[in-house]
Amino acid sequence: MLKNIEVFYFPETVKDAVRLLNRHAPHAAVIAGGTLITKSPNLSTRVLVDIRGIDMDYVKVQAGRLRIGARTSFQSLADSKLLQKWAGGALSRAAAAVTTHLIRNAGTIGGDVARALPYNDMPPVLMALDAEAVIVDGKKTRTLPVEEMVRGHMWRIVGRRALLTEFRLPSETRKRACAIARFARSASDWEAMVHAVASMEKSRGICRNARIVLGAVTRHAQRFPQAEAVLEGKPYSESLAAEAAQAVFDGLTPVSRASAEYRREVASVLVRRAIREVWNENETQQ
């Protein structure tokens, strides 16, 4: 647990937060909503940097791009009018589907990506919309595709001195159609068995810039270029969706939780459903 904490800081600027992380590295950690970190034992943490006072709770458009502050709660994402219109509101719907109101009020999108457990709900949708994460680590500000961020706990990817401040979605993703097909044991089970997201531009019946992402089946959420290649530039049809799903079935080696055969089967079914839903908004999932 967090027994060894010696000090809590409440910085109000990114600069101060990053300075504190640097000064106390590797013993400092960020606390955002606290819904994950408070129950995860890390005895080496001595300094907690509570980022609630920093202005990182927003959804806005700037120069055509969508910008989402890392401290934005699931509930604010669900309520954001802007997000409800971006890519058919996929990210906003995913946030609204987070288990319960108590978690939606406290949990943040930054925490969901920084500590990206394989079944966390935000990463697959962010990846399907080509999102980049903005990282500030003292010396510089840089951006990293969310796809790279989620390959492990954030400190493994960018170190313990870094603050994740924002997500950016390219302007062209605004008009993409995006569908989510998620399967869990129950609606309140946040550890999905399989989480499939499909997004693409529907350009006069042709699939363009297709993204197929799977969460919860492998060690981290990942894109499926084989399935994307099947769709790219082709006119949509049921059989094309089935062919893409087959590519997922053939290329997937699921790990842990439920048998691999089962998950591979479910993953390909959900990918097919997500692609169909992109083309036919009425289709119900699950």
Binding site: L48, D50, L102
Partner: protein
């Protein structure tokens, strides 16, 4: 909040742990509190120790909602948050809503509809309902169900509790 005196540039507010204890300043039901706590104390434990026993300890994993309180007006699971996260914030517990002789309209509505059996989930239910009605005075049934979806009730089957929130909303008009 006590400013840190560590380092020249540091005007960042901080709470330090001394001999294993720290002081958190917060507001509960409108009254300023100064708590001496351990750094890893959860908000739920601190509240119960200070006498706010309306917040119940069910699962301690964020799943049951019996520990729900309002933090700056929003319902949160107090078993998941560290007490230090409540520094300089406003907490509302069930003790802050009405008295036995003058119950809050939501408490009255829960009694009138028969929405209370053992009572264990009720503080979380009523506080979650309050957060909803404060923002959305005339909620739809779907909105009510969503606003209560983090609080499990082992007794009632939820129907009467949803009716209670509707009734409280109607009476308020």
């Amino acid at each position: 909040m006590k400013p840190s005196n560590k380092g020249r540039k540091s005007a960042v507010a901080a709470i330090k742990v001394q001999d294993g204890w720290m002081t958190v300043e917060t507001t509960v039901n409108g009254a300023r509190q100064s708590w001496k706590i351990r750094p890893d104390d959860f908000l739920l434990d601190a509240l119960r120790r200070e006498g706010f026993k309306g917040a119940k300890k069910g699962c301690e994993t964020g799943d049951c909602g019996s520990c729900a309180v309002l933090l700056d007006g929003k319902a949160v699971a107090s078993c998941l948050l560290l007490a230090a996260q409540s520094q300089d914030r406003e907490i509302t517990t069930i003790e802050g809503l009405g008295t036995p002789s003058e119950p809050h309209p939501l408490q009255e509505a829960f009694v009138d509809t028969g929405g209370i059996q053992c009572g264990f989930c009720i503080p979380g239910m009523i506080l979650s309902a309050k957060a909803l009605l404060d923002r959305t005075p005339s909620p739809t049934e779907a909105e009510i169900r969503r606003a209560l979806d983090g609080v499990l009730c082992r007794c009632t089957g939820y129907v009467k509790q949803v009716q209670a929130v509707k009734l409280a909303a109607e009476r308020k008009k």
